[in-house]
């Protein structure tokens, strides 16, 4: 604490001066400044530049060397023969990625919320060594996505640990990463594995905030366990559940690293997700097309904002109804 106290002391006189000059609210600006400055330069400004990118064409990387093409890139993304069949689209892979991402989001978010909820309920019981068990489920959150993808690729590949285990137990090995449904399931499962601990903790915090008396009241009211869950636990956990929902949704739409390492988007293109598409178009392919990548990323951002605002809307409404 000594250095902290020192900092507080050393900077105090000049800042006191500032406060005298500008008043208390000037200090608000002062406190906000460093973060907003960094934020502006490294997030907001690039974001704005990205919009400019999406309206340029060519392979050049620097905006100044790029040719203005208006909305061509967007047109290219939306150029479809038949809007119901993504194979007829000029950028069929984009639409494949959109479709895959949508399915992924639905499956992953529901599985994530479900598993996190069950885990939180289990951890909320009167366990011995609760913090150990909490750590067990939280642990994968610490791993980098690349490591997560790697470990699981090893386990799931045809010559992997899982098949070895199945083989030893006398089962037919399954080609997890080559069968489309299995591979998709693996992508969902692995991303749940990697992040569920975090969301379980948020829900656990929510569960622990539910007053014990409510359960006792329900017990006095002769409520069956199932009904307690549906009518008491779940509604009272709703604020936390919504937070989890928003966060998982945002993260699910942005899914990239671990799946990229795990399946590389395969088999075929069945786990090709939007971020991978953007990454490949913008960076990885030999002739990159940053304009197209930017256009795709801006579309993705718009969808995310709409989704999040929608969910936050639900939260708000819920807040207003649930007198707290």
């Amino acid at each position: 604490m000594a250095p902290v106290a020192l900092l507080a002391r050393v900077f105090d006189p000049p800042l006191r001066g500032l406060q005298k000059l500008g008043g208390t609210n000037a200090m608000a600006a002062f406190f906000l400044a460093p973060n907003m400055l960094i934020f502006g330069v490294f997030v907001l400004f690039p974001l704005a530049v990205n919009i400019a990118y999406s309206m340029t064409g060519g392979n050049a990387l620097f905006l100044t060397n790029r040719e203005f093409v208006g909305l061509d890139q967007y047109e290219r993304l939306f150029d479809c023969g038949n809007y119901l069949d993504r194979q007829t689209c000029r950028e069929d892979l984009f639409w494949t990625a959109v479709w895959n991402t949508s399915v992924f989001v639905v499956l992953q978010v529901s599985l994530m919320v479900g598993v996190a909820l069950v885990t939180a309920l289990v951890l909320n019981r009167d366990l011995k060594a609760r913090s150990f068990w909490r750590a067990v489920f939280f642990f994968p959150v610490l791993l980098s996505p690349v490591v997560v993808g790697l470990i699981w690729r090893w386990i799931l590949q045809r010559q992997g640990l899982l098949n070895f285990g199945l083989y030893e137990l006398g089962f037919e090995p399954v080609n997890w990463l080559v069968e489309r449904n299995w591979a998709f399931a693996a992508a969902v499962g692995v991303s749940v594995w990697a992040h569920v601990g975090f969301y379980a903790l948020i829900l656990l915090a929510g569960l622990q905030a539910i007053p014990k008396e409510l359960y006792e009241a329900a017990e006095m009211d002769g409520t069956r366990p199932g009904r307690v869950f549906w009518r008491i636990t779940l509604p009272l956990l709703m604020p936390n559940l919504l937070v989890v929902l928003v966060l998982t949704l945002i993260r699910a739409v942005q899914i990239f690293d671990e799946v990229y390492v795990l399946t590389g988007g395969g088999p075929g293109t069945s786990t090709l997700f939007l971020t991978q598409y953007i990454y490949e178009v913008g960076f990885a392919s030999h002739l990159r097309n940053p304009g197209l990548a930017s256009a795709a990323s801006i579309l993705m951002g718009l969808v995310l904002i709409v989704l999040t605002l929608f969910q936050l809307g639900i939260v708000r409404r819920n807040d207003r109804r649930g007198g707290k």
Binding site: A5, L7, A8, D12, L15, R16, Q19, T24, N25, M27, A28, F31, P34, M36, F42, V43, L47, V49, N50, Y53, L63, N124, R125, D126, L127, R134, A135, V136, F137, F138, F139, P140, L142, L143, V147, L150, I151, W154, I155, F164, W193, G197, L201, L204, K212, Y215, A218, E219, T223, P225, V228, P239, N240, V243, I250, Y279, P290, S297, M300, G301
Partner: protein
């Protein structure tokens, strides 16, 4: 307490076991295997030689074939267990293999060459840890330098993150000023921007600022994370305004209020953010890869990746160094984990 409370509440009731107890233990033990198993496998694999790594079926432990020095042969020879026609088992050393026939000698009696079909021999193996997977990168390949860079990036980024985010959160939670909700909206909206989306423009910015090939170029863009501001602000909202009024009455300047009152009281949330920041920064890969191209500046994750060539990946080094990179975050986590639930609960993340 009855069954109602036993599962859905928090306590295990009577000594009686019901399905919820069974399920709890099923979930915990299953979770333990599923969550820790893969990582244990990773650690275990990191001690295997390249050949053992490529092997299928994989072995549980890192094995190598036992070698024996046999008179008359310069190099040590691998030992095999051989079943001969009579069904007797013998231990022989292989001199060479020609096609499907293996020429072997009895180490005790090296004179005579015995020919064995390769189907009839199994290597005799002992557990051996390929510690060179660790030693070589750490000693020869500058991994200690990378480690230092990683520590520098992680520590600086975390400190700056905690500092700037908490300052911003303080302003956004304890002051009334015009535009406050706009700033909040802006911050929340950018929660949704993945790095890959702004990578090219960000590169231009870094490059224009001369931060290319500088650890600060890695640190700065990551520190203004909206998650942190959001989380800390939620937590600070729970600090009573009275405390701040009290400090003002106590002649404290706003700066001192921030340092001496608000920061210490935000400790649980700061701890949570610190854990996340350390994990994020430590594991950051794509961005440092883009900013850093000089060996002496590499972070561990980037250094790790140098083993990924065009056509070949040196898994044994990657795995070993992955394990090394995991250790610090696990330590930080163990150290700070007691704050996690209170921090999250307080930050409410609502």
């Amino acid at each position: 307490m009855s069954r109602v409370s036993s599962f859905l509440l928090r306590r295990r009731g009577d000594t009686r076991w019901d399905w919820t107890d069974v399920f709890t233990w099923f979930w915990l033990i299953g979770g333990f295997i599923l969550m820790f198993g893969p990582a244990a496998w990773l650690v275990n694999s990191s001690f295997k030689t390249p050949a053992a790594l490529a092997e299928f079926p994989p072995t549980l432990l890192p094995y190598v074939t036992e070698l024996v020095q046999v008179d008359g042969y310069d190099n040590a020879l691998p030992l095999y267990e051989v079943t001969d026609e009579n069904g007797d088992a013998r231990v022989l050393a292989e001199v060479r293999r020609i096609g499907i026939v293996s020429q072997m000698v009895d180490p005790a009696n090296p004179g005579e060459i015995i020919k064995v079909n390769i189907q009839d021999r199994t290597p005799r193996r002992t557990v051996s840890f390929a510690t060179e997977n660790y030693v070589e990168p750490l000693v020869a390949n500058d991994f200690l330098r990378y480690l230092w860079n990683s520590v520098f990036v992680t520590v600086m980024a975390t400190i700056i993150t905690l500092l700037t985010n908490s300052m911003a959160a303080f302003a956004l939670s304890k002051y009334q000023f015009r535009g406050r909700s706009t700033v909040m909206m802006l911050i929340v909206a950018t929660l949704m921007v993945p790095l890959s989306v702004i990578i090219v423009p960000l590169y231009s910015v870094i490059s224009a600022m001369g931060l290319f090939n500088s650890l600060w170029g890695v640190i700065l863009p990551t520190v203004a994370t909206p998650t942190g501001v959001f989380m800390l602000r939620q937590y600070m909202l729970t600090i009573p305004d009275e405390l701040i009024d009290a400090a003002r009455m106590d002649k404290a300047s706003e700066w001192q209020i921030y340092w001496r009152i608000v920061l210490p009281l935000t400790a649980p949330a700061l701890a949570v953010l610190a854990i996340f920041s350390v994990v994020w920064r430590w594991n950051d890969f794509l961005w440092p890869l883009i900013v850093l191209s000089r060996r002496e500046l590499y972070t561990l994750q980037v250094g790790l990746n140098t083993y990924a060539g065009e056509l070949n990946v040196q898994w044994h080094f990657i795995l070993a160094m992955t394990v090394v990179t995991m250790i610090p975050v696990v330590l930080v986590f163990i150290f700070l984990q007691r704050f996690i639930t209170t921090g999250i609960a307080g930050a409410g993340l609502k």
